[in-house]
């Protein structure tokens, strides 16, 4: 019975994966006011059904039988094991064998059998598998991508759910449209846990974490990794990476970082981050990276302009992430010192008079305005959030107000576009309809994170009415209930943050209708 221990280990691994599959996929449930629960009035029960049970039962019997007969009839046993693997774990095979081999049709066919994996989005498995294959092909095969996209948007009895959205995102990525990919992947968080397969969520969250790591936004990365769930390898690695960079002492060992990296998928690409992190730790003593030297000027500059200009240049070349955040704060403080200093302003006015500038006050006002606009433009970089803005004094609050205005204007335009389209009764493919809402969601959340509560309060009335009607229309007229439900849930969260009880009530009620 030498095969038995191996078989046991294998069975344990497989059961563990099934467990992780069903548990690790739920995002943290949002806090609710009024105690409305998440899924108590769903119209469909949990999706274990007879087919799954039958397959497992037969499969388990076959496996045990094969293991028992391993020594006696190895060939048959092997064949039986293979067949049952295919039947029990079609997705594993697709994901780790067929997709890396880039066999599009085979992956699609096998993914059709993955009923359990795609129980939350039946029918979308083949297309997700195809999308994964197409992203690996280089250069991107345009015709095939276009064909898959139109198939995704075909009106069928199937509604658009997590796997379809993820497929859209992957196709956008292979076309190089990273904006659209980001909207699609970030929109997965809107969906109800039972409307998106765990596979789709994993892919989406890996993309988001990789993007955050690439731009050096460690705070967001930590948040994402923690929010996603602790039982996935990517989240382990990225979480550890983020905590490492932020200097948290919970995971001090470099070994742990290496281990999680080795376990996580996508090793080739994340190796660079691993090395950078460990190298950074070796050269510096403290937790944070050592501040870079301030740029030098080739001639003497009057104080306090010299400090401000140096800080401005330092901000320009600072790396995204905590370095940019620190540089921004320092720059804002330095310019505040300049604006407060009377002696240097007299000096400047004198120089203006020397040059023969007319309307001197206006000209100096223009300079101050240019400083503020530069700071506002830099404040959009990843790593700078509303804490930095509020620490910036009057300049910081000007920048915050300015960014709120700009972002509100952007949101207004997007909402207006949705409204116009509704009024004109234009029918778009459902993928594009969802991506429009997803773009709005991304923009909103990004601005909310950067600008905090004032933005949310001001933006909520803008999006409330129109998006609610839009979602209702999708629900009623187009029958795409899961994504409409997702929109209701998101709006309810927004309304809650903005303190809009009426809107919250309506959205909560609509959300409770389920899909």
């Amino acid at each position: 019975m030498s095969g038995f221990p191996i078989g046991l280990i294998w069975l344990i691994v497989v059961l563990y994966r099934a467990y992780a599959n069903s548990r690790g996929s739920e995002p943290a449930a949002p806090r609710r006011v009024g105690g409305a629960s998440t899924g108590s009035v769903l119209s469909r029960p949990l999706s274990i059904d007879g087919r799954h049970l039958l397959v497992w039962f037969v499969g388990s019997v076959a496996v045990l039988g094969a293991l028992a007969a391993a020594r006696n009839a190895p060939v048959v046993a092997t064949l039986v094991l293979c067949a049952t693997s295919v039947a029990l774990f079609p997705w594993l095979l697709t994901r780790y064998v067929l997709i890396p081999l880039k066999w599009r049709r085979a992956s699609s066919a096998l993914a059709r059998l993955a009923l359990w994996t795609f129980r939350h989005d039946p029918g979308a498995g083949p297309m997700l598998a195809e999308a994964l294959v197409l992203t690996r092909k280089y250069p991107a095969p345009e015709r095939e991508i276009a064909r898959l996209e139109s198939r995704l948007c075909e009106p069928t009895s199937r509604t658009m759910r997590g796997a379809s959205i993820t497929a859209h995102g992957l196709l956008a990525m292979s076309k190089g449209q990273f904006d659209r990919a980001r909207w699609a992947f970030e929109s997965l968080e809107m969906l109800h846990p039972l409307a998106a397969p765990a596979v789709a969520r994993r892919i989406g969250s890996r993309f988001r974490m990789a993007t955050a790591a690439a731009s050096g936004d460690w705070k967001s990365l930590e948040r994402l990794a923690a929010g996603y769930g602790r039982l996935t390898r990517s989240a382990w690695f990225y979480g550890a990476l983020a905590r490492w960079h932020l200097g948290r002492r919970t995971i001090p060992l470099a070994l742990w970082l290496r281990v999680t990296w080795a376990l996580a998928p996508g090793r080739r690409r994340s190796r660079a981050w691993l090395n950078a992190a460990i190298a950074g730790r070796r050269t510096s003593e403290g937790d944070a990276e050592k501040p870079a030297m301030l740029p030098e000027w080739s001639h003497a500059v009057i104080a306090p302009f010299d400090e401000a200009l140096r800080r401005h240049a330092a901000l320009a070349i600072a790396r995204d992430g905590p370095a940019a955040s620190e540089a921004w704060r320092a720059c804002a403080a330095a310019w505040r010192a300049v604006f407060d200093d009377h002696r240097s302003s007299e000096h400047v006015k004198e120089r203006g008079r020397e040059l023969g500038v007319v309307k001197l006050e206006e000209a100096l006002g223009l300079f101050g305005s240019s400083v503020r606009h530069d700071l506002a433009s830099e404040a959009r970089r990843p790593g700078i959030d509303h804490e930095d803005l509020s620490a910036g004094g009057p300049v910081g609050s000007w920048v915050a107000a300015y960014l709120i205005e700009e972002d509100l204007r952007d949101i207004e335009f997007r909402v207006q576009a949705i409204e116009e389209r509704q009024r004109a009764k234009t029918i778009l493919p459902i993928g594009d309809v969802w991506l429009e809402v997803a773009a709005l969601h991304t923009k909103f959340e990004e601005s909310a994170h950067r600008l905090g509560e004032p933005f949310v309060c001001a933006a909520c009335p803008v999006i409330g009415g129109v998006v609610l009607n839009h979602a209702a229309e999708i629900y009623n007229n187009r029958g795409e209930r899961p994504i409409a439900n997702a929109t209701f849930r998101w709006l309810a969260r927004c309304a809650e943050r903005a303190g809009n009880a009426e809107l919250f009530r309506i959205c909560d009620e609509n959300g409770a209708l389920g899909f």
Binding site: P295, E296, W297, S298, H299, A300, V301, I302, A303, F305, D306, L309, R310, H312, A313, L315, A316, I317, H347, V348, R351, G352, L355, G356, V357, V358, K359, A363, L366, F367, S369, S370, H373, D374, A376, S377, E378
Partner: protein
């Protein structure tokens, strides 16, 4: 001089004084002469003239950029603006 921000990097990199490699107290004649000289060098394909040093790193000179820089410094108002960004020297 509109208030559209080019970003901090472009702001420092494309400051006319820095592009021309002159201090902020350069005289108008010096500015014209340096501009002419750089244009001639760029026209002749001199390698040294094509890059310049700035506090945020090296930049590339093109004839259009040099002409723009010289023109910006002719108007007193714009010159004051650029002097402030290049760093007004103390007396």
């Amino acid at each position: 001089m509109s208030v559209v921000s080019p970003g901090a990097y472009a702001r420092v990199l494309t400051n006319p004084f820095i592009v021309l490699g002159l201090p902020p107290n350069a005289s108008p004649a010096e500015i014209e002469r340096q501009g002419q000289r750089l244009l001639l060098q760029l026209g002749a394909g001199r390698d040294g003239a094509a890059t310049y040093v700035s506090p945020v790193g090296p930049g590339t000179r093109t004839p259009d950029l040099v002409r723009w820089a010289v023109d910006q410094l002719r108007d007193p108002r714009r010159r004051l603006f650029h002097e402030l960004w290049a760093g007004v020297p103390p007396r």
